[in-house]
């Protein structure tokens, strides 16, 4: 279970998070929605320790995220980055098996490659992609490789940062379905940030709406359409008029 209590973060004078409270139960898929620049990525990076919050507590299974063995903590996580963040200098299979080629999870190279090819197959990519370099792949293929890398070490918790940004609707649908299938299949806890409503409906068990640095609404995805929350209503219907300023 991931718990965020009154998490605050400012960059200079700009307060991005003003007190985020969020509970994500084990094995559920939580999607955080909100407009651009509302602090969704910062929230996610605070949990991973990529950004240190100024105040508040983040607990993972009851233990503070910032304390204890950092490697052991990160070994529980997988993450798909917005632009896939593949390492240009490494072939695809070494990107996927990155964690399995070094550190505490190190395996023999042949075994690591075998796992990488299997994970690539799981995300719908053929084995011949394994020896290509990221620059030789399309955006959708890079996202799939990023997804394969995120699940390669079979993590308990997977984070997805804008998984469908920059993809055409068909490829976005493919990625959404893959994420849902993989999360269910692995029994993982998932935290996704997006402003793509089709992703939300495909991926989420629960939804949290982040606006102005706080969680404005949270609840099951089925309750999203009749929440009665004016912020959520405006966001999911894409209206220019409402409590959220269109020009920010």
């Amino acid at each position: 279970m991931i718990v965020m209590e009154n998490v605050q973060k400012a960059f200079g004078d700009h307060k991005v998070l003003r007190g985020v409270d969020l509970h994500i139960e084990k094995g559920t898929s939580m999607v955080i929605i909100g407009g651009s620049g509302t602090g969704k990525s910062v929230t996610l990076k605070c949990v991973l320790g990529l950004i240190q919050p100024d105040a508040g507590r983040i607990l993972v299974d009851g233990k503070p995220a910032a304390a204890g063995d950092r490697d052991a903590f990160l070994a529980r996580f997988g993450m798909l980055f917005q632009g896939a963040a593949l390492f240009d200098s490494l072939p695809v299979w070494q990107n996927v098996a990155f964690r399995l080629l070094r550190g505490s999870l190190k395996r023999p190279q042949a075994e690591a490659r075998e796992i990488a090819v299997e994970k690539l197959r799981r995300v719908g990519l053929k084995a011949d992609v394994a020896d290509k370099f990221p620059a030789e792949l399309s955006g959708g293929m890079q996202k799939r490789v990023g997804l394969a890398r995120a699940i390669a070490a079979e993590p308990e918790i997977i984070f997805f940062d804008e998984p469908t940004t920059g993809l055409d609707p068909i490829m976005a649908g493919v990625i959404n379905d893959l994420i849902r299938e993989i999360v269910v299949e692995m029994g993982a806890t998932a935290m996704t940030i997006t402003h793509d409503m089709s992703s939300v409906r495909a991926i989420a068990d629960k939804v949290a709406m982040l606006h102005d640095g706080v969680i404005k609404w949270t609840g099951p995805v089925a309750g999203m359409d009749d929440s009665g929350d004016p912020y959520l209503d405006q966001f999911i219907h894409g209206r220019a008029e409402g409590p959220i300023e269109a020009v920010r």
Partner: protein, 260 residues
Amino acid sequence: MTWLSPIGALGRAVLTFLASVGQVAIFAGRALSHVLRPPFYPREFLNALLTIGWLSLPVVGLTAIFTGGALALQIYAGGARFSAEAVVPQIVAIGMVRELGPVLVGLMIAARVTSSIAAEIATMKVTEQIDALVTLSTNPMKYLVAPRVLAALITVPLLVGIGDIIGIAGGFAVAVHSLDFNPATYLINTVNFLETRDVVSSLAKGAAFGLIAALMGCYYGMQSGRGAQGVGRATKGSVEAAAVLILAANFVLTGVFFSI
């Protein structure tokens, strides 16, 4: 705007400069500590050796041979004014080994390697590859910085040594073919004139310049701002800082080795 404004601006500039010096010093300390502590990444290190050392040889060789040749011509022409043309081998040797070899190789490394390291790491930063490394339980200081710093520390002195030899060879070729020097006499004069201290100072300068070049590339890359502009600024800043620090370090090391 008051009459105190310029003083305030000067104070802010000094504070910013001191803060930068402190940050670079902390970064250098961290980088060197990671060079010594496991885990080590041999593949990254070998790749850095190849990129920084082997692939820099052509540019270092060309720079040295032309400089050595030009130096021989200049010394011959200058020496002719007071009938001292015969000192060409000695002055080419001492000029290349003590000063021009290390400084020119250092500056070429700053142009070629520092810029490349800064641009690569900065691009990795803006495309979240550095964050990805962290989430994959890999410390970027160990994986990206330590191998490059160690490789530069080892290869740049070797490049300086090779540059010195090629520079002297350039002077030799010009002296023998254009200035009618006797080849055997030229070589004997060169070897006899050089002292151990000259060679040691040259290699020590190479190590210092290599360290500076790699550290500046890594530091500016890791501090890069967002977008293409951030990468451009990081690259430009790294080369400027490396070049200035190499020249400053050259002055200090020359004082250390040769002050009487």
